[in-house]
Amino acid sequence: MADNERIKAGRLNKSEIDEGFLDLHPPLPRSEALIEADRCYFCYDAPCTIACPTGIDIPSFIQKIRSDNIRGSAHTILSENIMGGMCARVCPTEILCEEACVRNTHEEKPVEIGLLQRYATDPILESGTQLFERSARSGKKVAVVGGGPAGLSCAHRLAVLGHDVVIFNRDSKAGGLNEYGIAAYKTVDNFAQKEVDYILAIGGIELRNESPLVSAGDLDKLRKNYDAVFVGIGLGLSNELGIEGEDLPGVENAIEYIADLRQAADKSQLPVGRNVVVIGGGMTAIDVAVQSMRLGAENVHMVYRRGPDEMSASGFEQALAQTSGVTIHHWASPARIVGNGHVESVEFKEGLKLPADVVFKAIGQALSAEGYGALQQDSGRIKVDVQQRTSIPNVWAGGDCVAGGDDLTVSAVQHGKIAAIDIDRQLRKT
């Protein structure tokens, strides 16, 4: 992003910025974890487990925290969700496991499942303790396209089941949006890469970064050279507003700015506008708005075309934006972006007009289908069945790139796991 008078780095000093990017939910010390674990009722057929997209046996892992059996607890978590560490940080628990917790009925305060999950997994990832063993080698080879949560989860499970895996990844680091997208204060201290390292340590997985597969010929080759293919390429395109002024300097894709932010060695060197307008109502919009604020923007306005209930960002995320100083406007759609050589303001159909040095577009992403046209689609994404099978034999897909998902890390992990189990079943038949 341009660095000029209106958009510049250093609006806050380094320590102020560091403070804004501290761990959003600091880890529980043992004393607090034990008390919190004690609040779990060890439910039968636990509603929290049913609500977890990866089906982690939550009462069991909490029970093991109570008895200081941390290795056992982490094993319970990671055997259903190899990204249990990241999910503990980024899952919108208030609409998943914690929403289902029976403690809500009892006292409107669920067990802090996310924080307990982090308590159990952090020491294992920190020490690199290997909890899994590979089955006897099958001699089969699987290609995984995309090294995000879906691809990594699939690869890990396949490796555990005895197959060899090659991951073809577009970016220079694996982790997908864990590395390039998730808000920085949710995953501090380079956690995304620590988790990638932990996953790869199982062995049998070859990671090839900067190896995008973008032509139909690529997919054909993979199908020929490998026993199975899993596609987990996420969403490569950002949606456009399609309005006047969209090309003005200062109008940015939120996703790209966030990726720069996540990769910045020193956040105080990142340019930021004084007046920032964010268009959109999802997690990306919230994240770019809050992070702009924490980088030193003076006014951040987030504008969404519908009401708070329709926002895909959860209530907790919306509240986080508001307490961070972001002003949220509902029921307003942009009409045009105005500026002379650089964006100056945004005008909305409903009459609202906001001054802007930067406008972030955060109205969703779309599948970049180049090279994957042979796979049948459904509402713009790859169509799969309940086993994550695509329309082409021996090709599975999962994560954000498939239709019918909810665009969460945890769901991508589950897709990868289900696909791996089905691939294993198929490979053992032949």
């Binding site: 004393s31 439910c43 039968y44 029976v102 403690r103 009925t105």
Partner: protein
């Protein structure tokens, strides 16, 4: 406010809460603080012959904790007083002078010969104490020297030592019993036969807390070695209550006053002991865990309870004793079923899984495909397991069947009582 001023064996105190003989009553400093806080009386830390014993200088105590480190049970290997007799006697004399309205009892432990008792009892009584408590209960250390529980486990010794004490004392004598026996009645009877004015119980229960998971030695140790201690605190209350009730309902022991001890932490615990036959109570662990201030809740909790129930203190004492009987006298025709209040149920499913796995498969996990927990009356045996595990107070209750048939057995409900003594399945039944 109900009047809690009580007289136990003619020894009056502003309330029935005494501190048991233990560290809280070790010396004048502690006892003065206890009386300032409002305790009704103290049983001084057990006195013995000079030269005084010595304690280990490592861990004496250890605890069974809940996850939030609440102390549930407590273990100790402390011996009797480790100070010279004269120091204790001087302090007893001064304390009685300073606190004339409080009960001051001297706990004693002496060797099994008449001379010791004849020599020391009058010497101690001379300080002005209101009574004696004979420590026949200490289960560690002292018992290895032929005192404490070593006496308390042999009824003949109890009787003998009690007689010696009674001959030498002009103030009342309480005999403190050990729970480390199979039947509490013979030791209590021996005390009574020896002339005891009352019994107090329980002292601590032989215990080893756990092992150290690193060294795999017992825990705690003194220089690598450990020994069993005495268990007390909340965890022991049910054991103590049973022993108190056994004494209270034994005909031959009728009229023997009881000072109840063991796990008393709040006023409800005191109500348990009083209703089951104790006419005063003693506290040790709760004070060691929370400090003397807990007396506030003990006193006004009990007083408010008596007001609510419109009972006097004396009316509460022994109130529940008639409800305690032998198993063989329970009415086998009486039938209860669990009933779940669906408005209170938070759907944790605990009742279902415990009944399914370990009881009588009498609670559903779904009804018409929807998660729902309902009792099946044709399977429920009324065991109270689900009530015990349900995390919501009052959500499951046991309700009596008063008419029709028991859906489980098909037999008609009757008001007629049927006890095991008359039950057709009892080969030894008494025929009328």
């Amino acid at each position: 406010m109900a009047d809690l001023k009580t007289s136990f064996l003619g020894i009056s105190s502003p309330n029935p809460f005494w501190l048991a003989s233990a560290p809280p009553t070790d010396k004048a400093y502690n006892v003065n603080r206890a009386f300032e806080a409002g305790w009704g009386g103290v049983v001084w830390k057990t006195l013995g012959e000079d030269p005084h014993i010595v304690n280990v200088s490592g861990p004496r105590y250890s605890a069974l904790h809940s996850n939030d480190r609440r102390v549930i049970g407590f273990n100790n290997i402390e011996l009797i007083t480790d100070r010279p007799l004269k120091t204790n006697l001087d302090e007893l004399r001064q304390v009685k002078k300073d606190w004339p309205d409080r009960a001051l009892i001297a706990s004693v432990m002496l060797p099994m010969n008449a001379e010791s008792w004849t020599k020391y009892i009058p010497m101690i009584e001379d300080t002005g104490v209101d009574g004696f408590e004979l420590n026949f209960g200490c289960p560690h250390g002292m018992s290895e020297r032929g005192m404490g529980a070593a006496v308390g486990q042999v009824p003949e010794y109890i009787q003998m030592a009690t007689e010696w004490a009674k001959q030498a004392a002009s103030v009342p004598v309480i005999v403190k019993l050990t729970p480390n026996i199979t039947n509490i009645v013979p030791p209590a009877k021996a005390a009574q036969d020896g002339g005891a004015d009352a019994v107090s119980l329980i002292n601590t229960i032989n215990s080893i807390m756990r092992v150290d998971y690193d060294s795999l030695t017992m825990y705690p140790t003194t220089d690598g070695m450990g020994t069993h201690g005495g268990y007390c605190g909340e965890a022991v209350k049910p054991i103590a209550l049973n022993m108190v009730a056994e004494i209270a309902r034994t005909r031959e022991l009728a009229g023997l006053p009881i000072s109840g001890i063991g796990g008393i932490t709040d006023w409800r615990d005191a109500v348990d002991f009083l209703a089951l036959g104790a006419s005063n109570v003693q506290v040790c662990t709760a004070a060691m865990v929370y400090g003397f201030k807990i007396i506030d809740d003990l006193v006004d909790g009990l007083s408010n309870f008596l007001d609510d129930k419109a009972l006097t203190f004396d009316q509460l004492v022994g109130k529940a004793v008639p409800s305690v009987t032998d198993w063989q006298h329970l009415n086998l025709n009486y039938i209860e079923k669990a009933v779940i209040d669906q408005d209170l149920c938070i759907q944790c499913g605990r009742c279902h899984v415990v009944c399914e796995d370990t009881s009588h498969q009498a609670i559903t996990n779904s009804v018409d495909g929807v998660r729902r927990f309902e009792v099946l009356d044709d399977e429920c045996v009324g065991c109270n397991l689900c009530v015990s595990v349900c995390p919501v107070d009052g959500c499951i209750s046991m309700q009596q069947l008063t008419s029709g048939n028991d859906p489980r057995t098909g037999s008609a409900i009757t008001e007629e009582k049927l006890r095991w003594t008359e039950h057709p399945n009892n080969p030894m039944r008494k025929m009328d």
